[in-house]
């Protein structure tokens, strides 16, 4: 009896879940800009492609970070990994060609992820402290190997596949986003892998008691986060025709905000890939809309904060009333 009763309301309850939050926010902001900026080109396909292209590295970092957060770890080193992987890729590219460059760059991600993970799990110290430490080390190394110079990339294939290219009229950066997001979505929601990830994040004690190898799961999550950042580095390098030690530096907070607004818990156990993607697009859209609005930089900053807060407020209201 109770069962039938509850099943009837399931749809409504689904729509009210915390995960639905980002949809409201996303569309509220979209509508807001569409109204205010109706006389600019904000609503053009071209402009949306701009936004998606610009946010591709952020999106991929956000997707990666979602895995780390899912197990309850924060990864502050992703920004630094972006720079180092881009530099390693750019430096290898000249001499050894694309496959080696890509492999080298991704290897940076794997190594950093492993180091982060091993230090955190062996020492049982908070991921924040360890990744803060590795962030410093990696940034220093990136500065050292690049000598603060930017490393230009002249390989047109590379800049095609990792930057400005289009396949059937679709920007490759969009394809990268979709493919990575798709894989991540399946891994997190459809595979045993994701189930264990969320179990470890939701209750490490219970996961351990059920025989899940908690350390290995956490290690995997940190490697994924790092490798995603390394891929983001390659995309930056491809888009910017070169690498530079400052890449990714400013992205950390944006990425964290994107993931958090998308409904992933910062304390583990709840994660949403779709949310991370919409969250990073939201950030990109706010940026874009504010520039098109003609506000001064200061006004843009204030407006960005206010929009974030208002969007969150409306999202919550919708949830409560909806």
């Amino acid at each position: 009896m109770l069962t039938a009763h509850s099943e009837r309301f399931n749809f409504k309850r689904l729509a009210l879940k915390r995960e639905a939050f980002i949809y409201y926010i996303f569309f509220v902001v979209l509508a807001l800009f569409a109204i205010v900026l109706h006389d600019t080109a904000f609503l053009s396909v071209n402009n949306f492609m701009n936004i998606i292209r610009q946010t591709a590295p952020i999106t991929i970092m956000a997707v990666g970070l979602t895995f780390a957060l899912a197990v309850g770890h924060i990864d502050l080193s992703i920004g630094a990994v972006v720079a180092l992987s881009a530099l390693v890729g750019a430096l290898l590219l000249e001499q050894f060609g694309i496959p080696v460059a890509v492999a080298g760059a991704l290897l940076v991600g794997v190594c950093v992820g492993l180091i982060n993970g091993l230090l955190i799990e062996r020492l049982q110290v908070s991921s924040l402290l360890i990744t803060l430490g590795t962030m410093g080390v990696i940034t220093g190394v990136a500065r050292q190997i690049s000598n603060l110079e930017s490393v230009p990339i002249i390989n047109p294939d590379f800049t095609f596949y990792f930057g400005a290219g289009e396949v059937f009229g679709i920007p490759v950066l969009f394809l990268w986003t979709i493919v990575i997001a798709g894989i991540a979505y399946l891994a997190l929601n459809k595979l045993v892998f994701g189930r264990h990830l969320l179990a470890v994040g939701g209750s490490p004690k219970a996961a351990l008691a059920m025989g899940i190898n908690v350390v290995r799961v956490r290690l995997n999550a940190l490697v994924i986060s790092s490798v995603a950042a390394a891929l983001a580095g390659l995309l930056y390098a491809g888009r910017l025709h070169g690498a530079r030690y400052t890449l990714g530096e400013a992205d950390l907070l944006t990425v964290i905000a994107a993931v958090a607004i998308g409904g992933t818990s910062l304390f583990g156990g709840r994660a949403s890939i779709v949310g991370a993607i919409l969250g990073s697009w939201l950030m990109g859209m706010i940026n874009n809309g504010l520039i098109l609005s003609g506000f001064s930089t200061n006004e843009q900053m204030i407006a960005r904060g206010v929009i974030l807060i208002i969007a969150v407020t409306i999202g919550v209201k919708e949830l409560k009333n909806g």
């Binding site: 292209r53 603060l148 930017s150 888009r239 025709h241 400013a250 874009n288 520039i291």
Partner: protein
């Protein structure tokens, strides 16, 4: 690479040669044009450039539709350029952080019909007259040299000094710092006893304190620009070292107040940001009338010490002196 190309400055003309006739102004006014200012960061200096440009454009009936600040992030600047392109502005005034990475997005804008005027930093492989109108620049090398001369003046041409330089790849500060060091070798009795770099502005206080600990007999310190110089002066004050002079670049109110009150700040070298913006706007407007600009248009700089603070300030920012500064000067 950037440094040498600016250094050459083949065919540079002074900014005073750039002007529009009344007839040209009327022509532009009739066209209902738009402009976007795509900057690298934000500071009073950038504000002054912006207001110079806005004022000049205003006189020409050109509407400024967007101002962007890339926060020194090349990736953000590329995004900014792409975002601005949706507005299809007729003019772009821009300071490129990294010419290599921004090139293709600038190219799209130019292909779309926008006229591009650059500040200081050239774009590799861009052809003047075709891809961009011209470059307006301050004389970074001259400024570095002038700072070295101020240093000589402050130390009476002898003694130990320290250099606190910008340890990041940023061409304006890098060039000024380099020119300072080079020119200082003309004063053989001045010895650089300590040299330390900083990445973030707020680090200089700690660095200066450490330098003082190891080299107590310094006579003066050179710092890359005004904000980090504030930290250095703080450290000097904390140690009670009123005798050590500070030489720097750019006009920061706090530093000028210190200078006015006979504190540690001895002198700064300043360019004229307002004039830079004005000149860029004028060059842009002239280009639409088919004028060929010179490859480089140079904006002059000034050495600032206590006596000429007021004059130079007004010249640089085209604004009255801030209250606190005029009160300090009256002290």
């Amino acid at each position: 690479s950037v440094a040498s190309s600016v250094q050459a400055l083949d065919g540079a003309v002074p900014s005073s040669t750039v002007a529009l006739s009344a007839e040209q102004v009327e022509k532009i006014k009739g066209k209902k044009l738009t402009a976007a200012l795509v900057w690298h960061g934000s500071s009073p200096w950038v504000n002054a450039v912006s207001s110079g440009a806005k004022e000049a454009f205003n006189k020409l009936g050109v509407e400024v539709v967007a101002v962007t600040d890339a926060q020194l992030d090349p990736a953000k600047q590329v995004a900014d350029i792409e975002n601005v392109s949706a507005l299809k502005p007729d003019f772009i005034l821009s300071l490129a952080i990294d010419g290599v990475s921004a090139k293709s997005s600038y190219q799209k804008l130019v292909d779309q019909g926008s006229k591009l005027v650059l500040l200081s930093n050239p774009i590799p492989d861009f052809v003047q007259g075709k891809d961009y109108v011209g470059i307006v620049t301050d004389d970074m090398f001259g400024m570095g040299k002038a700072a070295a001369d101020l240093m000589a003046q402050a130390t009476k041409e002898q003694g130990d000094i320290a250099v606190i330089y910008h340890d990041a790849s940023y061409f304006i500060t890098n060039n000024r710092d380099r020119a300072f060091r080079q020119h200082l070798s003309n004063y053989p009795n001045i010895r650089i006893a300590a040299e330390k770099g900083f990445v973030n502005e707020h680090e200089t206080s700690n660095i200066a304190a450490a330098i003082l600990l190891q080299h107590p007999n310094l006579k003066a310190i050179y710092v890359s620009w005004d904000t980090p110089a504030e930290g250095v002066i703080e450290a000097l004050r904390a140690q009670g070292r009123r005798d050590i002079k500070v030489i720097s670049h750019d006009l920061g109110v706090s530093n000028l107040v210190d200078m006015a009150l006979n504190g540690n700040m001895y002198g700064v070298v300043s360019d004229r940001p307002f004039t830079i913006g004005e000149t860029m706007a004028k060059l842009a407007a002239l280009s639409i009338l088919g004028h060929q600009a010179a490859p480089y248009t140079l904006v002059p700089y000034d050495k600032v010490t206590q006596p000429n603070i007021k004059t130079i300030w007004q010249q640089a920012f085209n604004q009255p002196l801030p209250n606190s500064l005029s009160r300090a000067l009256a002290h």
